[in-house]
Amino acid sequence: MEKIVDNHISIVGLEKTIYQDGNPLKILDGVDLAIQKSEIISVLGPSGCGKSTLLNIIAGLDEPDGGDININGLDSDSRLGSVGYMQQKDLLLPWRSVKDNVILGLEIRGVSKRKSYQMVEPHFQSFGLSGFESNYPHTLSGGMKQRASFLRTVITEPDILLLDEPFSALDALNRSRLQMWLLDLLEKIQRTVLLVTHDVDEAIMLSDRIYVMTSRPGRINSVEKVPYPRPRDREIVNDSSFVELKSKILSFLWDQD
């Protein structure tokens, strides 16, 4: 019982079945997650293992068929709008400048435009967006768009961040830069993070623990602890323990399909 109180996100036996052309399709089959405050957790799994469904449920966009989900004691209605959810695409609105995109969440909460601008202003520097506040999204690089999308997600100060493959659209160099930037940012703002990814390196590099899922119906196959304290150095990829952990996780994933 004590453990549940400690956990920021606690999920027990989560089940979800969807219907495709009337046929039931089990997506999640008893998923358990226990995440502490300020932990960075990755969820790794083959395509179609229900990772996105899991995030949708945690965000409050979807309801599970069975099992318990507890986030600071909130039910799904109040989860919506309180959990920050960053999707794969940057989803910046093409008709809004960077500045106006970033304040979208504040605007929805009824914060005045002037106040919103004051709130985002100090962050443009650390998000690498200064000088581009009035630009339209199509004039930005992929990395900048993603950082703008990040700023939009964190500016409303949700204490939980759900990140659904946020770097998958970027090239390898930009991806690795943005990963280090994110680690740096999370040192400063201390959030509970649930990151869904395909990329084993990314999962090890960024997270404290890794949940490896089975293919559909999704279950937790194993939970791996990443042995590096934060803040981390990019060089850890060359450690033998990094390579070992990577090959262990890969073998779990390969055994699927």
Partner: protein
């Protein structure tokens, strides 16, 4: 200006070719002008009758613009209602489509009987044929929003009204403008049909009156002025789109 001339030089080329061939044909075949006037005699008519033509042009232009704005207002309101409520969509859409299958040439004389002889029936005829592309395009635009953006709005705590005002309206604008371009072109036809059925002024009236009087030059003069009105208004809408929806091209690419 030079760039503009170069850009449209193919269109000018075609116009020159057609006008030249036409002039030549009329000259060589000695076609009487009541049957087919030469371009030069049409040009002369436009010049000599310009004040009379201008008077009729302004009448027709007024009908087009007022009818177009009525279509815009009705079109956007209908499109919004259709997108906000599936019940309204199911209730209205069949009738909106049906309204386009009834020949306007049948409805126009009835409007005359119902609401009289003035400006109003012409405006209604214009609006009746031009609201359709506005509704259809705007509905498509509002419905084309990315489901992921819908998700984003929900996770940011956005309510239905906010999704409508902050997402659906702006993302429908490029589609609305496509609809407006089609609408303005057919508005011109609407105004002429409205005048044919019963009027005492306007370019449509001028055409219908000049034909039995064998003043075919005037018929052609009216056609040419109507073409310029259509092209001019179309260009104006394209320009307004660039001003008000500068992201339009980016979004479509």
């Amino acid at each position: 200006m030079i760039n503009w001339l170069v850009k449209w030089s193919p269109a000018f080329g075609i116009v020159c070719l057609i006008v030249g061939a036409w002039q030549l044909l009329v000259k060589i075949q000695e076609i009487p002008s009541w049957l087919l006037p030469s371009p030069s005699s049409v040009a002369t008519t436009i010049y000599s009758d310009h004040s009379m033509l201008m008077r009729h042009t302004l009448v027709t232009l007024e009908e087009i613009i007022l009818g177009f704005f009525l279509a815009l207002a009705v079109g956007v309101i209908l499109a919004s209602a259709i997108c906000l409520s599936q019940t309204i969509e199911k209730a209205l859409y069949p009738f909106i489509i049906a309204s386009q299958t009834v020949p306007i040439i049948v409805i126009a004389p009835m409007l005359l009987v119902w609401i009289g002889y003035g400006l109003a029936p012409k405006i209604i005829v214009v609006a009746l044929i031009s609201f359709f592309p506005i509704v259809v395009n705007t509905v498509d635009g509002m419905k084309s929003i990315d489901p992921d953006i819908q998700k984003l709005m929900h996770t940011l705590g956005g309510k239905k009204a906010q999704v409508f005002s902050k997402i659906m309206i702006p993302s429908s604008l490029p589609y609305l403008f496509s609809g407006l371009r089609v609408a303005i072109a057919i508005s011109v036809i609407g105004a002429v049909i409205g005048e044919w059925v019963g009027s005492s002024e306007g370019l449509g009236y001028l055409m219908i009156r000049s034909k039995p009087q064998f003043q075919t030059e005037r018929v052609f003069a009216a056609i040419i002025i109507l073409s310029f009105i259509g092209i001019g208004l179309f260009a104006l809408i394209t320009y307004l789109e660039k001003v008000f929806v500068p992201w339009s091209n980016e979004q479509r690419n």
